[in-house]
């Protein structure tokens, strides 16, 4: 056996792990989850201070904290022995001494490690009869509240800020049973990645203010998504209640974002779908835009668009690859030679303890995808010549006035929001917005990642690729249909050498690399 591998027995199961692995991780491989609080796999410091992860190791007189105990050759570990269980029961009893037991109004209820383990140890009532210490609550950051009474002083939040964010301004103040987490009096935590302290908190002590009392864990639907805030492409979990995004959390992906994401990204999806949404196709009849059914709209465009006559087009780097690919086909059918996209940019922000992750300058998720499908970056929206065709897809035209596109002969606007710049459109097609459709993005690094629909689009809005596919098949009835997103991905991959070998299923939730990825990374 290689000296870099050790084998040990955990609860009767033999496992082999790389030398240097802590026992808690070896146990996980053997299928035994050891309860823990201060240990977090993404935070390098291991203070071993909560004592929750104690296990029995044969030959060692005392219980050992498995989060720091390194697995040794031949170790025999018992995670469920009477001694270990008793130790855990005591830890839980201590943690609950001053805990307010306010689970019924706590936002972590249902997703709380204290609740879970307390339930597991099965202590139905407390032996403590003194009055509980009340510490109250505090504002830790502009958007984060701290409920000190629920805090178990695991210091995960403090150590995230110190080890990962490199910012030593969140600390433990006081000591013993009076200890609490605090910033310097009068200051608030300001860091672009501070929201992660809420995710690492194993209990309900740290809560985002915009989530407080919004939803119970068991009332939310969850879908795996990709953050559309920048070209990093952080993997996220979208929590939806009654078709509204109530919370966005990072979803682990070692290659992209680890356990983390930035605060701008957390807000992005919540904000993206606000505003006056387009929810029905509209066709210009004289001076008015008239709501019509999809069939009417599609048939009408097929019959009246100047196919092949050329024009100008602008798309948006927030659209999925599938939609961008379909747009390229549509633009081709209209005879337009290529299109542009506009990219909004911001400051790059690093996360010193996890350098792979940065809030990137490109504040849209799919600049690389737009490049891949032949769109090129422009500064301004194209101005059509009189009588020319104009196609705008996804760009919200925030800088355009109501006369934008008025001189165009035929103006197609595909988008999520009604905007002044769209008011002279000939036809408006409502698209599903962020979190409302399935699809893929290519991140700054050439990684193709899948995201999934988390909620229903408003009215009859539909994903871009679906709308365009339907329209193109009206014009060329022989086109193979894109019946679902997997088929759309398939048609796209078949026509795109860089996507060779990739399939919707094959991407899974970890993503796949574009071939010759350098060719698609115009992104920053």
């Amino acid at each position: 056996m290689s000296e870099h591998v050790v084998s040990l027995t955990v609860d009767g199961v033999e496992v082999k792990v790389p030398a240097g692995t802590p026992v808690i991780q070896a146990a996980e491989r053997a299928g035994s989850v050891v309860p823990h609080y201060c240990y977090h796999p993404g935070i390098p410091s291991r203070p071993a201070q909560c004592r929750m992860c104690l296990v029995e190791i044969e030959g060692q007189p005392k219980l050992q904290p498995s989060c720091v105990m390194i697995a040794q050759e031949g170790m025999i570990v018992h995670t469920q022995s009477e001694q270990a269980l008793e130790a855990r029961r005591s830890v839980i009893e201590f943690l609950l001494l001053n805990h307010p037991l306010d689970c019924p109004i706590c936002d972590a209820a249902g997703q709380c490690m204290l609740q879970d383990y307390a339930y597991e140890t099965g202590q139905l009532s407390s032996r403590y009869e003194e009055p509980k210490l009340v510490l109250g609550r505090d504002r830790i950051a502009e958007d984060i509240l701290y409920f000190a009474d629920r805090c178990i002083i695991c210091t995960r939040c403090v150590r995230f800020m110190e080890d990962i964010a490199g910012d030593n301004s969140l600390v433990v103040a006081q000591r013993g049973h009076k200890a609490y987490i605090d910033t310097f009096p009068g200051q608030e935590l300001e860091h672009a990645f501070r929201g992660n302290i809420v995710d690492v908190c194993p209990v309900g002590a740290l809560v985002h203010e915009d989530f407080v009392f919004k939803a119970r864990a068991w009332d939310m639907d969850t879908a795996p998504g990709i953050c559309a805030g920048c070209s990093q492409g952080c993997n996220i979990e979208v929590n939806v209640k009654e078709n509204q995004v109530v919370r966005v959390k990072p979803r682990y992906n070692a290659d992209v974002n680890g356990y983390w994401m930035c605060d701008e990204g957390r807000r992005h999806l919540v904000m993206a779908n606000r505003g006056l949404r387009l929810d029905v196709p509209m066709i210009r009849r004289g001076d008015v835009l008239e709501a019509v059914t999809w069939s009417e709209a599609i048939e009408w465009i097929a019959a009246s668009a100047p196919w092949g006559a050329g024009g100008v087009a602008v798309v948006h780097p927030g659209e999925s690859n599938e939609t961008l690919f379909a747009l390229r086909e549509l633009i081709g059918a209209l005879g337009i030679a290529g299109g542009g996209y506009r990219m909004s940019r911001g400051e790059e922000v690093e996360l010193p303890g996890f350098p792979r992750l940065k809030l990137r300058q490109d504040r849209a998720p799919n600049g690389a995808g737009a490049e891949l499908f032949g769109f090129s970056e422009t500064d301004a929206v194209p101005v059509p010549e009189a009588g020319q065709t104009l196609l705008v897809a996804g760009d919200r035209l925030l800088d355009a006035g109501s006369d934008y596109g008025a001189q165009a002969g035929f103006y197609v606007y595909l988008g999520t929001h009604m905007t002044e710049g769209a008011s002279s459109a000939t036809v408006i097609l409502p698209l599903a917005g962020a979190g409302e459709a399935d699809g893929t993005y290519v991140n700054f690094d050439g990684l193709v990642q899948r995201f999934h629909q988390a909620m229903q689009p408003p009215g009859v809005a539909r994903p871009g690729w679906m709308v365009i596919d339907r329209l193109l098949r009206e014009v060329e009835p022989d086109r193979p249909p894109m019946r679902d997103v997997a088929a759309a991905f398939g048609s796209m991959a078949a026509a795109t050498p860089e996507l060779e070998g990739l399939s919707w299923r094959g991407l899974g939730l970890k993503g796949g690399r574009t071939a010759g990825r350098a060719t698609v990374t115009g992104a920053r």
């Binding site: 030593n168 301004s169 969140l170 433990v172 103040a173 006081q174 605090d182 310097f184 009096p185």
Partner: protein
Amino acid sequence: MTRKIHPAVVSAQPFQVANLRPTDRLFEDEEGRDRLEKAISRYPDKRAALLPMLAYAQERNGWVSPESMQQVAEALDLTPAYVNSVATFYTMYNKHPTGRHMIQVCTCVACHLCGGEEVFEAFLEATGTVPGAMSEDGKYVVMEAECLGACGFATAVQVNDRYFENVTPETVGEVLARLEQDGGE
């Protein structure tokens, strides 16, 4: 008054002395700079000078104010939050103004048996304060202390850096009168 001290004793000053040489800017006079420099010179790592510098702040002002914490943080390249964390961990750094006379009454075992609690109550009554809070005229703070190491002379009372022994509720008035007479020192 500037006290030149040897680096070896930089953190061993009587740091519970109140209102000795109050200052708003700890490290802007010669004394402050000297103490800072000497404390830093004693350790491999600047951060280690934190405890002596907090003690120094208390020695000058009688307590460690948020402003002092910020100045110490700046002097040692730490965040004010970290300094606050350390200062609040130790109960003997006063985080509130201590007045002219910081009266610590021992209520530990030996003194307790000899009526320490009553002495404590008597001080509170005579100064018209509640435990730990400064009297309105800024003269007194009364607090309980753990064993002051003068168990043979219970009840022991420490006022700033000065000891009073065999104090009883009856002699509390005398102690206060002595303090009044001697001023702050």
